[in-house]
Amino acid sequence: MLLLALLLLAAAWELYKLAAPDDGVRIGDALILPRSDDASMPHLSRIFEVFGEQEVAGVAGGGTVLSSVVDAVWYSLRLAVAGFAAGVAVGFVLALAMQRVRVVERALLPWVVLSQTVPLIALAPLVYGWSGNLSLFGLDWQPWMSVSVIAAYLAFFPVAIGVLRGFSSPTPVQTELLAACAASWWQTLLRLRLPASVAYTIPALKLAAAAAIVGAIVAEISIGLNGGIGRLIISYAQQATGDPARIYAPIIGAAAMGVVAVGLVGLLGVALRRYQPEETA
């Protein structure tokens, strides 16, 4: 399915390039359809050629664009995974607390929702400011930690909401039954709420994985952290006048990163499929 979608996208790209005028379509001064000349929309073949080129044009032995992109993806992915893990942990604990005590749910849920309305860009410099000023357990705060924190900030939200819904999904008959069996809160959690929540948790984790990656990339850019895909996007964009196809290389890298992350969560879903009767994916 993913392959088919990619092929369709590629076909649409090339078809547009073929059919549309190079200067785009204008009504008066307003550009209605984008330009399709080689500078604005390079051929797909050209975009993939870029991966094989030298990082610094004309200098041999400096590594190819592909290796730069792969390195950057690997770097960013680790930050995103750290953020994802932290976000999932926080989301789970919040959901647990909200399930356990109704007052907590009423007190906390508005804040959880509110947290997502704060723009990431506004938050990044604040978190970045922790480095050099903060130390945890004798460990100095590193700039990469700020990136992971921001990734976690985006990732915890779908987990908290999804897991809370999952924990509340057992029917009244099922909860009454466990109460009638004198099951403790902990037993009810392990035997009923946790297994019943899987069908809600897996989609939430997929959202969280994608959010962690977006968070990591945006945070890298706004903090100005080197080494990741975010930085690469900026630096290749600056070279776009010389080589317009180059800008697409890190974008493809970032997209591949997202696919891998969501795919890994999907594997977890397959492993837990007996807990999700309705899910067919």
Binding site: Q174, E176, L178, A180, L192
Partner: protein, 263 residues
């Protein structure tokens, strides 16, 4: 000699009020009822008469506003913690991710019984409800009647002295329902458990019970307790004059109350 068993259920002056102030609703008032060990009693009445609420009070799933509730001679809460009763609802409420066998084992697992013991006991119970071959199936692979049998097996798992049932056959078709009633009679004879059975079917109440407790709404209360004549509960009993006479008696008790109750 066996020492005399305490009554399975003893209710005295039980009442339940939902809400408070001007909007409070009296769901139950002045309920006095005693169910002997091994006795089969049904609670029958129109919707809103509080029969399900009463069952949940006996099960200690909700607390009464007043009165005392003893189950097996203990306070209801203690009886619940000691697992003195098993319970089955109109929906089987099976856990989809567990096999049929694992569903029956659930109450045993919650009480920390060892795995092998649990296995053999659950297998025995499935045999008892006629599902010996279905232990490894998923609940979704079973028909509604079969799922309800699993729920009954699960309710019996701890070999309780009291079985509480809230319209367990309410969602089944008439044929399945009659077969399940006969099965239940057989199972109760084998386990010697007392049963409190909530239903709104008059023939069901008469066929199953030794006593039918007729209830009426607003406020929920017991209006009459009708003794069902003894006799072997087989298919012949469904055709017997005594069966029909008692059905008529229960129906008239219900109707009298509805007439009187309506303004």
């Amino acid at each position: 000699m066996n020492e005399p068993r305490p009554p399975a259920v003893a209710l005295e002056g039980v009442g339940k009020r939902f809400g408070s102030g001007a909007t409070a609703v009296d769901a139950l008032t002045e309920i006095d009822l005693s169910v002997a060990a091994g006795e089969f009693v049904s609670l029958i009445g129109p919707s809103g008469c509080g029969k399900s609420t009463l069952l949940r009070i006996i099960a200690n799933l909700i607390d009464p506003s007043e009165g005392s509730v003893l189950v097996n001679g203990k306070p209801a809460r203690q009886a619940r913690l000691d697992q003195d009763y098993g319970i089955a609802f109109q929906q089987a409420g099976l856990l989809e991710w567990r096999t049929v066998q694992a569903n029956v084992e659930l109450p045993l697992a919650l009480h920390g019984m060892r795995r092998e013991e649990r296995r053999s006991q659950a297998a025995e119970l499935l045999e008892l409800v006629g599902l010996g071959d279905f232990g490894s199936h998923r609940p979704s692979q079973l028909s509604g009647g079969m799922q309800q049998r699993v729920a009954i097996a699960r309710a019996l798992a701890r070999r309780p002295a009291l079985l509480l049932m809230d319209e367990p056959f309410g969602a089944l078709d008439e044929m399945t329902r009659e077969r399940m009633q006969s099965e239940l009679i057989r199972i109760c004879a084998e386990t010697r458990a007392a049963v409190v059975f909530v239903t709104h079917s008059i023939p069901e109440a008469v066929f199953l019970s030794q006593r039918a407790v007729v209830m009426s709404p607003r406020p929920g209360r017991i209006t009459e307790i009708i003794d069902v004549p003894p006799g072997t509960r087989d298919e012949d009993f469904r055709e017997a004059d005594a069966f029909y006479a008692t059905i008529t008696e229960v129906r008239e008790a219900l109707r009298a109350r509805t007439r009187e109750g309506s303004p």
